[in-house]
Symmetry: C2
Subunit: 387 residues, 2 copies
């Protein structure tokens, strides 16, 4: 355990757990998936009533490692939100982070061995949906003995899973916390996903998804995909403020180098992000997750009427958006809120003033964290949890 | 010549001309370019006073073929704007469209033979700037005997060239018409260009820019580059309206196919655009033009003070932007207008209500065309041109 000298909360060491599921999982795309493993972490203690559990669902490039310090010495992706004394206080709540099926961070995914061939699944791994993930998460809850979550929460794609929980298992959550998310992708959102997928699929080293066997990686495609994604995570404003037209390694007045290599700071930053990502993320997983994003549209089965879809829900909702998020803009969250209100469901909504764009949901914004802290306290008192 | 039965103006046949320039062209990036050709078209007649010439500068993927019907039977990219009886009326004005140096549509560019090697220039073609193009265009004007243009005009990158004309040759234009443009790219703009370039440069078939010799084309990179560009040309709204979440070849209620191949209409559209572009556009030209966009920043030599830069201008200005353009938003145009006003220069500004995003500058919007028609008429009377 690491100790800090200041008042900063100490990072809690955490160890991932792994569970095997042998019952077939029926998939939205047809067929069923047989025999898979889910990796998860948990923080805090489940109370005797089993009423203090919060499930945290991850977004595109995250994992079960939500909080604390794992064995590799890495801090969880939402460690500023979840932990002792933090907005989601693990001294009060039992928090679970789960790695979704199809991911590349430990749960069964395209890199895993397909028992029927003895080779990695690769492109034969089934196309998955947000709903498939939720069903798999519900089984994890069963195994952990959690009948009803105090909350299911997530940001971005994680928020979609929280929303899907409220519709697929209305009795199994008291609260749905849906942050920087949307009830469906726009044509522009799908377009960005499609370009990213094309970059990967057309990389000659993708080998139709069987690159593991070829002993190569479609690095170039993954880099481009990540660079595109990254642009959409940041606001125009924050890019202007952090990078503007700064030249890499040059003073303001110095001459251009007149090159197609790195000239501007923003180029250096994006390339770095792209290369880092290509080093740890699986290309087939990228396809699976972006496609799950594209397909999410709970209103679709109700002729496009979102309030009809949300009428299945029974929990209370917290919906939050960020003013400069242009990937899933406040308008997307307002659409959810209006549909919930049309169903007479209880919903709190906050539009948080933040310059950081979509990424804001991961950052330590005082207004945002205060909102979550207050909401979690209200949840605790609603649920009769000890202070 | 094609004749239409209705009241629609007939398409005018046009033939491209070619001029050779032997005097070295000094380049912003250092060195000079020796011996090049520029291809151009012209429409209407130069009057005896040589006072009715308008130069039209092209944007990223366009050419000298601005208006009329060329020998390949293709209509010019701004044929709705330029022609007999059109907003830029060729019965009154003598209009010139020029293909820029470094392009792939006829003027000397990376596909041309480098006389010192006997092979295509490829990556050895110099990095160019908007200012380099303007200097080359000024020589074309010299050869055509045009001392002073009635106007230099363009949209997007073409607008940057018009702006640069007003600063580099202040005495050689009476009017600068700058549409859907900007005085400098933002970090986000540069970021999109950089991703597009990375897609091209990392395509194994790019061969460091020497793909001509390898007998291949970096089609995959060009496709991805074009798809990214295309997303930024369209507004979120127009994408939603034209494509939304429509499935390709399926009715609204039909099931998803659960595939990484084309599922949504927007995917089909973008792939088609990408493939078409890869079939006709040169990859090295794409690098040259996007880099010229990145580098354009006339305020840079004045410590970032745009009004100091624009103080060199002597002409009148028309600046126009489109409400839903998020590539070069109205704010970019307003910045130009405010800097011009700070210099006591005469400027008309219009923010045109159009749903189409950046592409609006190419489209036949009545409010927009009426504005250009009225401005051109005012120019004509200012310049004492016969009606």
């Amino acid at each position: 355990m690491l100790f800090h000298s200041g008042s900063e909360p100490q990072a809690v060491p955490v160890k991932a757990e792994r569970l095997h599921f042998s019952e077939p999982l029926e998939l939205a795309g047809g067929g069923s998936f047989l025999g898979y493993e889910l990796v998860y972490e948990s923080y805090g203690r489940l109370n005797a009533e089993r009423s203090n559990a919060i499930l945290i669902c991850h977004a595109l490039n995250a994992s079960h490692h939500v909080a604390g310090l794992n064995e590799e010495g890495e801090l969880g992706w939402w460690d500023n939100m979840v932990g002792p004394g933090k907005p989601i206080d693990t001294e009060r709540f039992f928090v679970i982070g789960v790695n979704n099926l199809g991911s590349c961070f430990g749960s069964t995914g395209p890199m895993s061995i397909n028992p029927s061939t003895g080779k990695p699944w690769g492109p034969d791994f089934p196309v998955l949906t947000v709903e498939d993930w939720v069903h798999a998460q519900a089984r994890l809850a069963d195994r952990l003995g959690i009948v009803r979550f105090a909350a299911v929460m997530g940001g971005s794609l994680g928020g979609m899973q929280a929303l899907a929980w409220s519709l697929l298992y209305p009795q199994r959550l008291a609260h749905c916390i849906c942050i920087a998310s949307t009830a469906k992708l726009s044509a522009q959102n799908i377009a960005f996903n499609e370009v990213a997928r094309r970059a990967i699929i057309t990389d000659p080293e993708f080998h139709g998804g069987r690159f593991y066997e070829a002993g190569v990686l479609p690095r170039r495609g993954l880099q481009v995909a990540r660079m595109i994604g990254h642009i959409t995570y940041l606001s125009d404003d924050v890019m202007a403020e952090r990078f503007g037209r700064l030249l890499r390694g040059r003073e303001a007045g110095e001459a251009y180098r007149y090159t197609y290599d790195i000239e501007f700071e923003i180029e250096s930053y994006l390339r770095y992000q792209g290369e880092k990502f290509a080093g740890y993320f699986d290309a087939n997983t990228y396809l699976i997750i972006t496609r799950a994003l594209d397909y999410f549209d709970p209103a679709r089965a109700f002729g496009g009427d979102l309030s009809k879809a949300l009428a299945q829900a029974r929990c209370r909702f917290l919906v939050a958006s960020f003013t400069t998020d242009w990937r899933f803009s406040p308008e997307c969250s307002r659409e959810i809120v209006q549909a919930l209100l049309a169903c007479d469901l209880e919903v709190s909504y906050a539009e948080i003033n933040a310059p950081h764009g979509h990424d804001a949901f991961l950052l330590d914004n005082p207004q945002y964290h205060q909102l979550l802290r207050a909401y979690a306290q209200r949840m605790a008192s609603n649920l009769g949890l000890a202070a």
